[in-house]
């Protein structure tokens, strides 16, 4: 996973690209701690460049969701497409967070 982040006022945005796998759990944990520390209201995970995700990756998103509840910020997953979108649909991620599909993936 490659990561790029940006904070602008209350808004935190993280662009995740490549593959989100178990091996990335260390980096993802740091990201979550970074968001908690930033004390923002909203956080967007932009997955437009994320090509694949495994169950550990889903687990990390769930942990992000848990943290958002515990630290008072809103989570949104944006621009999901391809295999990532299929998996999020299949495991009904829309029930635990806002999931916005990529406009080109309708």
């Amino acid at each position: 996973m490659e990561l790029r982040t940006e904070q602008s006022g209350d808004q935190f945005t993280a662009w995740l690209s490549g593959q989100l796998k178990y091996q990335d759990n260390g980096a993802f944990r740091q990201l979550i701690e970074q968001i908690n520390a930033a004390q923002v209201r909203n956080c967007v995970f932009d997955l437009s460049e994320l090509s694949s995700i495994d169950s550990a990756g889903l687990g990390m998103l769930v942990i992000a969701s848990d943290n958002s509840e515990n630290h008072g910020w809103k989570i949104e997953v944006r621009n999901v497409r391809g295999q990532v979108r299929k998996i999020l649909d299949l495991s009904r991620f829309d029930k635990i967070m806002t999931v916005v599909p990529h406009p080109a993936d309708e």
């Binding site: 995700i53 687990g59 295999q83 495991s91």
Partner: protein, 405 residues
């Protein structure tokens, strides 16, 4: 008495109309061939024969006095009416038989339709329900539960993965603690080495001091022994810490396996297909349910139609009663006419059978159905084969019949 004479008068009128309207007869002669253009069942109305018959009726009528003519005419009429009554009875019986057999067939059909309805209903039960242990579960519910189960499975996988990732976070923290433990042990080792060196120096200084340093030498020896023990302890501690680290690293691998479920494209596609199949299965179940409902409804309608047909067939009884009433009326009419004729006291022996045969043959011409005409011929003693000679032979039969009256 009044009735009899009235009947006689009526008969007279009838006969007059029938016998002496030559104009009508002439018209019928002309019409006959045109009306019957060579039908299969229809007797060939040879114009020559018809004319001959008419001529002979007129001639034969002229030979008889009015009374005899009426009596003979009455005899033919009575025979013909008997014949017609039998025909009516026969037709009524035919209708009764046919109605009876139709009713029984319809009843069979109604039974079959009812069976069909039951079969369709039980079929819909079979198709729409699955027996699971002692419960009957609708296929719709089954499909829904399957879908819910699939979603639940995915939710659990995700939950398990998230717990796995969290567990690895905890392990990471523990590794950090273990690292600092290793550092602490290294620090203990460093301090212990210094202690050991200090003890050694103290021993050397004690030796140099001679007798005065003997006590100090003992203390230095003890400190060295203590340092050796601490060294032993720290070696044990380092070994144990390494073992714990190795064990946790193994656990880390296991947790990685737990948290990582293969979610490759093919795997998802398999699940998507399962979802699609379940949806199709549900749609199909609905379609089958509707089709079976329509089928059951159609069977019920067929049964209802058949039942009303059976009810309608029962009106055959009314037809039978009406025909019986017609026969009774004819019978009563004949009795009255016969009584009136007997009152006249006409001697039967004087009747002319030739005239009767001629009139009978004329009537026979009315029957277009060959079978009917032949039966009429037979009953009135007319020979069908040799029509021109018929009057002679029929006359004898007619005589017998007339004597019965």
């Amino acid at each position: 008495m009044v009735t009899s004479s009235q009947a006689e008068a009526a008969n007279l009128d009838d006969v007059d109309l029938f016998l002496f309207e030559d104009g009508d007869d002439a018209e019928r002669e002309a019409d006959l061939p045109a009306d019957e253009p060579g039908g299969d069942l229809i007797a060939d109305p040879d114009p020559a024969v018809a004319e001959a018959v008419d001529t002979s009726i007129a001639d034969l009528a002229a030979e008889l006095d009015e009374r005899s003519r009426l009596i003979e005419l009455n005899a033919v009429q009575e025979k013909t009416l008997h014949f017609l009554m039998e025909e009516i009875n026969h037709a009524s019986r035919d209708v009764e038989d046919t109605a009876g057999s139709l009713s029984s067939r319809f009843r069979h059909m109604a039974t079959s339709a009812r069976d069909l309805t039951q079969v369709v209903q039980s079929l819909s039960e079979e198709v729409l329900f699955v027996k699971v242990e002692n419960d009957r579960i609708g296929t719709q519910t089954l499909a829904e539960e399957l879908m819910a189960g699939l979603e639940d499975f995915f939710r659990k996988v995700v939950f398990l993965s998230s717990r796995g990732v969290k567990m690895s976070y905890t392990l990471d923290d523990m590794f950090k603690v273990l690292d600092s433990m290793q550092e602490s042990i290294a620090e203990i080792d460093r301090i212990n080495k210094q202690t050991h060196l200090l003890a050694l120096n103290a021993k050397i200084e004690a030796a140099r001091a001679g007798e005065a340093g003997r006590g100090f030498k003992v203390v230095a020896e003890e400190v060295r022994a203590l340092a050796a023990s601490v060294n032993e302890l720290s070696t044990d501690l380092r070994e144990h810490t390494t073992q714990v680290t190795q064990g946790l690293e193994g656990g880390y691998e296991i947790i990685k396996e737990i948290a990582t479920v293969d979610l490759s494209e093919e795997n998802i596609d398999a699940h998507s297909r399962l979802k699609l199949m379940t949806r199709s299965f549900m749609a199909q179940g609905e379609a089958v349910e509707q089709a079976l409902a329509r089928s059951a409804e159609a069977s019920r309608q067929v049964e209802a139609e058949i039942n009303s047909s059976i009810v309608e067939l029962q009106f055959q009884d009314r037809l039978k009663q009406r025909l019986e009433a017609v026969n009774d009326a004819i019978d009563r009419m004949m009795t009255i006419t016969r009584d009136a004729a007997a009152l006249e006291g006409t001697p039967i022996g004087e009747l002319g059978p030739d005239f009767q045969a001629a009139v009978a043959r004329e009537i026979a011409g009315v029957f277009k159905l060959g079978e009917l005409r032949d039966t009429y011929h037979r009953q009135l003693g007319l020979h069908v084969e040799d029509r021109p000679e018929a009057p002679a032979s029929s006359a004898a039969d007619d005589d017998d019949d007339i004597e019965l009256f």
